[in-house]
Symmetry: C2
Subunit: 234 residues, 2 copies
């Protein structure tokens, strides 16, 4: 590299880059958020999203995956960038920008022990306490994103077990949209996309009659996408 190039860079300011994860779950018919007791100052002991500084040699998305895996023990979790939080004085310590990511996990899957070790807690989305820094804003923004995105992309399934019933799926959408849906119309709409595989088994945990289990058909969905199809729920 030429000397002038190096000089140009050297004159510039460097800062910390962090990533914070808004981790959503779905349990007992409710949308949940996984938060943590903060272990470092400032505000040690306060509730916080989980996050980490990004290391020089890792991608931002890798940093987020690393954090998530450390905490939950899960790999291949759905995670997507939300937005950056780059206000100069957002962190009273040093200049630090954060790239927030939101993750959708199956509550049944994750390693409870690991989570408990980290002082974590699943909060009902409607009862999220005060969080440090701008984390409450991140959560609010992530919920908005989830609401919008669930409409036109089948990401809701990431929050359900692999096998689920239509009434469970409806509960999930009701929790995300914060709105009641008509069971007959919901079922019709969902099934009309032809991306659910009906299984022989029933789930009898919530009714005497039991409800048939379904699986999301990723392959068919991918094929449909290719042919210009649009997923949409409600």
């Amino acid at each position: 590299m030429k000397a002038e190039t190096k000089d140009f860079y050297i004159e510039q300011d460097k800062m910390y880059v962090a990533t914070d994860c808004i981790i959503f779950g779905f349990d007992a018919g409710k949308l949940k958020l996984l938060i943590f007791k903060r272990r470092v100052e400032p505000q040690k002991g306060a509730w916080s999203l989980i996050g980490s500084f990004v290391k020089l040699e890792e991608n931002v998305s890798e940093a987020a995956q690393r954090v998530l895996t450390e905490i939950t023990g899960l790999k291949n979790v759905f995670m997507e960038e939300l937005k950056s939080y780059g206000v100069a004085d957002r962190d009273p310590g040093y200049r630090c920008i954060s790239i927030a990511q939101y993750a959708l996990i199956r509550v049944e899957d994750y390693d409870r022990e690991l989570v408990e070790k980290h002082g974590a807690h699943w909060y009902d989305m409607k009862e999220v306490p005060n969080l440090v820094l701008d984390h409450n804003q991140m959560v609010a923004d992530a919920l908005e994103r989830l609401k919008r995105k669930a409409r036109y992309q089948p990401i809701g399934f990431e929050l359900l077990p692999e096998k689920f019933t239509i009434p469970q799926l409806q509960q999930l959408y009701e929790a995300i949209y914060q709105k009641e849906l008509d069971a007959r119309n919901f079922r019709k709409k969902v099934l009309s996309h032809n991306v659910l595989i009906k299984l022989e088994e029933k789930d009898k945990s919530s009714s005497r009659r039991g409800a048939f289990l379904y699986k999301f058909d990723h392959d068919t969905y991918q094929q449909l996408l290719q042919s210009g199809y649009n997923f949409e729920i409600s």
Copy 2:
């Protein structure tokens, strides 16, 4: 601040944070992109988006506004975060992440002189040349975002002069969606939202008869938003 806090931060890696602007315009019925001859290594002289390093004392969004104002002379331009580009080796110089922002500007408004001084050029979106680093990816991502967002938020108007005709508006949407639209249905749909104010004047630049000019009614739009209304075009 406690010593332990300081230590915790000091151990972490710092990096350069940049912002790059994807600047869209609309002229002669076509969607345009404003790009620049790069003035610094690496790849001095190559085509590039305009950008800047973020300074310690400024917000990321301020940095983007600063760049845009330097180049175009415009303030209060529509600009919104696209996403971050945080792959570890994206810039062969030093570790640098970029927060890309896309801007919509009225081509008529900007200061041509200033733009020419900066080695800028408006390219037709369909003829964008090779850009440095990951900038072509940024442009592609921004176009996708614009396509999606124009559907449910009236951001297209940011690209038109304050007064515009329905056929002009249609041309714009056709350019964004890359798809022809039916003039009768388009007019019906747009007017049904009741967010356009019809003026007495006509624009005769593109027909003998002339087409009536309209203005976007920001106030009414804001009111409608409050009452749970959804803007949607096509």
